[in-house]
């Protein structure tokens, strides 16, 4: 099995605050890893380190065979990694000045020099895949939150990533739109995409994850198959967290 992400003894600080503590974590190709934990536990920071949106201070991080040095000491590796790793954000971060289709075409055209016709065909195919082929020429602000997030997923997929990062992809959505986004992610997982997902959707985690990781105050305190973690947590902090989030 190929390991797409390898973290060893990784530490990250925000000023004096120690946000990630000695993180050891590997992600295999095709694996779906769901990261759970309270807000402020460092779970978002963890996946933002994978594509270098956050720098880390010590330890090692290898993504898709590229060594990403601490303090973004290796810009070439970082550039390569970002071509191979897609990311979906909590706030969608679509480009408001471009149509839906142009949002998706931008990176293939700029980064891979894809010809207009090829990028266009890719965008149409991906929009159909996420179920909004008929909205291609609208602007993001004309779409619902759920539709916008599906466009964001299509935009990331247009670069044909080897790994997809999801940073609380449904947290900014109205409840009735969460399902349509999770459906797209579920499909993606089924097709074998390697995924790291930070989420509060425990139902999704249990159903789709190959492995669930619980982070508490910057440390991985428990990980395992979803059924084991959810039904039989070993660590008392995990027990306390799960009893809080699963109670309602």
């Amino acid at each position: 099995m190929t390991q797409i992400v390898k973290m060893k003894g990784m530490n990250k600080y925000f000023g004096k605050l120690h946000v990630l503590k000695d993180i050891d974590l590997t992600v295999e190709q095709g694996e779906v890893v769901v990261i759970i934990g309270a807000s402020g536990s460092g779970k978002s920071t963890l996946i933002r380190c994978v594509n270098g949106l956050e720098e880390y201070e010590s330890g090692t991080l290898e993504v898709d065979g590229q060594q990403l040095a601490p303090k973004s000491g290796n810009p070439k590796a970082l550039a390569e990694i970002r071509k191979e790793v897609g990311m979906v954000f909590q706030q969608f971060n679509l480009f408001p000045h471009l149509t839906v289709k142009r949002n998706i075409m931008l990176a293939p055209q700029k980064v891979k020099d894809a010809p207009e016709t090829v990028a266009n065909a890719t965008a149409e195919r991906l929009l159909n895949r996420v179920g909004i082929g008929n909205q291609a020429d609208k602007y993001p602000s004309q779409l619902s939150g759920g539709q916008q997030q599906r466009v964001a997923i299509a935009r990331a997929l247009a670069m044909e990533p080897r790994l997809m990062l999801f940073d609380e992809p449904t947290s900014a959505l109205d409840p009735e739109m969460i399902g349509e986004v999770l459906d797209v992610m579920r499909e993606l997982a089924k097709e074998g995409m390697t995924m790291m997902v930070v989420t509060h959707e425990m139902g999704f985690a249990r159903e789709v994850a190959d492995r669930v990781i619980y982070i508490h105050e910057g440390q991985i305190v428990e990980q395992g198959k979803p059924d084991d973690v959810f039904d039989n947590p070993q660590n008392e902090r995990t027990q306390a967290f799960l009893s809080r989030v699963l109670a309602h």
């Binding site: 949106l53 990311m87 971060n93 480009f95 931008l106 700029k110 980064v111 602007y139 990062l165």
Partner: protein
């Protein structure tokens, strides 16, 4: 003896052909200067938000100096002062364009800085995460959005600069006010002539306002 003033419409109308000769100069100085000022504004505005202090510092110095001194002093300095330094005269037109360029450039730098900083950093993160370089992310994601927000303050600066050119009558550029002064020297119809001068300025600035409203509406429609 009773004092009686009568607005002399005929004198006002007669002055128009002579005054209008000043308009090309007024427009040339303001728009020539603003064009260069826009380039300076982009350059220094972007430098002023650079992480490196040795790039940021000169930009801040430029902005503070040209924003913090009167444009009249600036143009006098360029026209009367600089020739001593470079050992040759500067023609009034060039001095006027240079003064508008340097002065508006300082204000436009601030407009550029504000516009760029107003764009959510999630936009940059999205660009970078897609594999775009920092430069690509800036010019294809951040700048187009920032520019749209910059249109109203840029229009404001254009109107200010057009009016500022009236001060350049002091260095003898044949712009609107200068034409008025020359005309009055022969006819002594100050009230009528300055009235027409004011109307002509208003015609220029109002036309610009209308164009800008139109551009703004079209630009914002797609966001």
């Amino acid at each position: 003896m009773e004092f009686q003033f009568q607005f002399d419409w005929q004198a006002a109308i007669d002055s128009i052909p002579f005054l209008i000769k000043g308009i090309p100069y007024t427009l040339l100085i303001s728009f020539g200067g603003l064009l260069i000022g826009f380039a300076l504004g982009i350059f220094f505005g972007l430098l002023s938000i650079n992480k490196k202090w040795f790039l940021r510092w000169p930009a801040t110095a430029y902005i503070e100096i040209f924003r913090g001194t009167p444009i009249l002093v600036q143009v006098l300095f360029i026209f009367y002062g600089l020739p001593d330094l470079i050992g040759g005269p500067i023609d009034p037109l060039t001095a006027g364009i240079a003064a508008i360029a340097l002065n508006s450039g300082a204000y436009i730098s601030e407009v550029v800085r504000g516009g760029v900083q107003s764009i959510d950093k999630g936009q940059t993160e999205a660009g970078l995460s897609l594999g775009l370089s920092r430069t690509q992310t800036f010019w294809s994601v951040v700048w187009p959005q920032a520019f749209r927000r910059m249109i109203p303050p840029l229009g404001n600066q254009a109107i200010v600069s057009i009016k500022d050119t009236s001060l350049f009558s002091v260095i003898g550029v044949g712009e609107l006010v200068r034409q008025g002064q020359i005309y009055i020297a022969n006819t002594f119809t100050a009230f009528e002539v300055y009235f027409v001068v004011a109307i002509l300025y208003l015609a220029i600035t109002l036309s610009l306002s209308i164009i800008l409203r139109f551009v703004e509406r079209r630009g914002l429609a797609s966001v």
